[in-house]
């Protein structure tokens, strides 16, 4: 569960909510009265507000600063240590997509924690679904030890066909990134030159494509 002090903002908050503060309102509020974590939260809120206006430097700072908090939230949700970084990646992508929903008059940490908690729950659910379908290692070894039988080649061919079809259904930008970087193994610079896209867009498209493919091939929506 996210920190209660960060999420206690039910309907009754309207009655006691302070007036919205602007980006420079830190100057007006006596910061010495705030705790260190509240000051850090306000700083991140100001960075995100600047990022909403297009400030790249503020954006990378707030995202870098968010990683530790995302990991902490995911840990509290019960995500295993080796899966924490998947939650971080998914949360960063959601933050990017939903950055216009952040209200700088409110807590950045509460906003981020809600997104991170949801992405952590999504990951736990998808792992749960996968665990139902997958066969336990020892059991698999006992019952399916001989994998290189006559059907193995057919299976590989079918898998490749499924992957090819899944790639074909990707949006054009994502398909292009997979083809250039994954299948043709071009460097980012070469792929950028051939497609006319910048390297950042190619990286994001590749990341999204891999997530989509992973979900589709594991039978998730």
């Amino acid at each position: 569960m996210p920190n209660a002090s960060l999420t206690f903002d039910g309907p009754w908050v309207l009655l006691r909510q302070p007036l919205p503060r602007g980006l420079d309102s830190d100057k007006a509020v006596p910061t010495e009265s705030l705790s260190a974590s509240e000051q850090a939260d306000r700083q991140r809120a100001a960075w995100m507000a600047a990022a909403q206006a297009g400030d790249q430097r503020a954006y990378t700072r707030v995202l870098n600063d968010s990683v530790a908090l995302i990991r902490a939230v995911a840990r509290r949700q019960g995500v295993a240590v080796d899966a924490l970084d998947d939650v971080v990646q998914e949360t960063l992508l959601t933050v990017h997509r939903a950055r216009h929903t952040f209200d700088p008059s409110r807590s950045y940490d509460a906003w981020l924690s809600a997104i991170a908690a949801r992405r952590a729950i999504d990951l736990l659910r998808s792992h749960g679904r996968r665990a139902h379908r997958e066969v336990h290692d020892e059991f698999a070894f006992d019952t399916h030890a001989d994998r290189e039988d006559a059907s193995a080649g057919t299976q590989r061919h079918q898998d490749a066909e499924r992957l090819r079809k899944a790639i074909e259904t990707l949006p054009p930008g994502q398909r292009e990134a997979v083809e250039q970087l994954g299948l043709k193994e071009r460097t980012l610079a070469e792929a950028a030159e051939r497609t006319g896209r910048n390297t950042g867009a190619l990286k994001v498209n590749l990341h999204r494509a891999l997530k989509t493919l992973r979900d589709r091939l594991h039978g998730e929506p």
Partner: protein, 216 residues
């Protein structure tokens, strides 16, 4: 690639494609926009049917007035709760806000079936009750569609719960609009049809709206 490097690469990539964004309006203002559309439809119905029949029903049977107030308040609170829940970081307790008014709406409608009939007012048969069902569903479809479209611009982290509230807001708004041209006394069949209509609208939203919002 180590995890720290993966995060750094993603952050760099996201930073590189950063563009300025228009901040989302506060939820209460977005809810007001949707309610304004409902109000425009209500004005149209008042122009067509007038307020005389509605006020006569309410003066003779105050429970019907109470039920109508409950429906209107439910529409307002459920719409506000939907827009609130679509923004990350807002409390889940917003989902409870429409509950008291919904109970008033349902309770007062049920009470209407227990008292004596309003003199001179027709009692609804099954055919008329079907018309109520069609009215509520017909108005709920565009109202739900509009709200889902508006909510997709936000980031609903609880898509099904948000969609249930969308259904409740649309159904209660439609029931409120029906009140303007509902020239019948309350009966059990009428109440049953209203309940079925609201159930269909809320259920359909939970199924379809939830899917649409989860892809937002």
């Amino acid at each position: 690639m180590s995890d720290a490097a993966r995060h750094e690469a993603l952050i760099d990539a996201l930073g590189a494609e950063l563009t300025p964004v228009r901040r989302l309006l506060p939820p209460w203002r977005r809810a007001l926009g949707w309610l304004a559309i409902v109000a425009v439809i209500a004005v149209g119905l008042f122009v067509r049917y007038g307020a005389g029949t509605m006020l006569h029903r309410w003066s003779v049977a105050p429970d019907l007035g109470l039920a109508a107030c409950g429906a209107v308040i439910t529409a307002v609170t459920a719409a506000l709760a939907s827009f609130m829940l679509a923004v990350p970081g807002r409390s889940r307790s917003w989902a409870w806000v429409p509950v008291p008014s919904a109970l008033l709406w349902i309770g007062a409608s049920g009470m209407g079936c227990l008292r004596a009939h309003i003199p001179g007012m027709p009692v609804m048969d099954l055919h008329g009750a079907n018309d109520c069902l069609i009215f509520i569903i017909s108005f709920s479809i565009p109202l739900s569609g509009l709200m889902v479209w508006l909510l997709r611009r936000a980031c609903p982290l609880r898509p099904v719960l948000t969609a249930v509230l969308v259904g409740l807001a649309s159904a209660s708004a439609s029931a409120s609009l029906l009140e303007i041209c509902h020239n019948f006394d309350a009966t059990a069949s009428d109440l049953l049809m209203h309940t079925v209509a609201v159930g269909i609208v809320v259920g359909a939203n939970a199924l379809m709206g939830g899917r649409l919002l989860s892809k937002a």
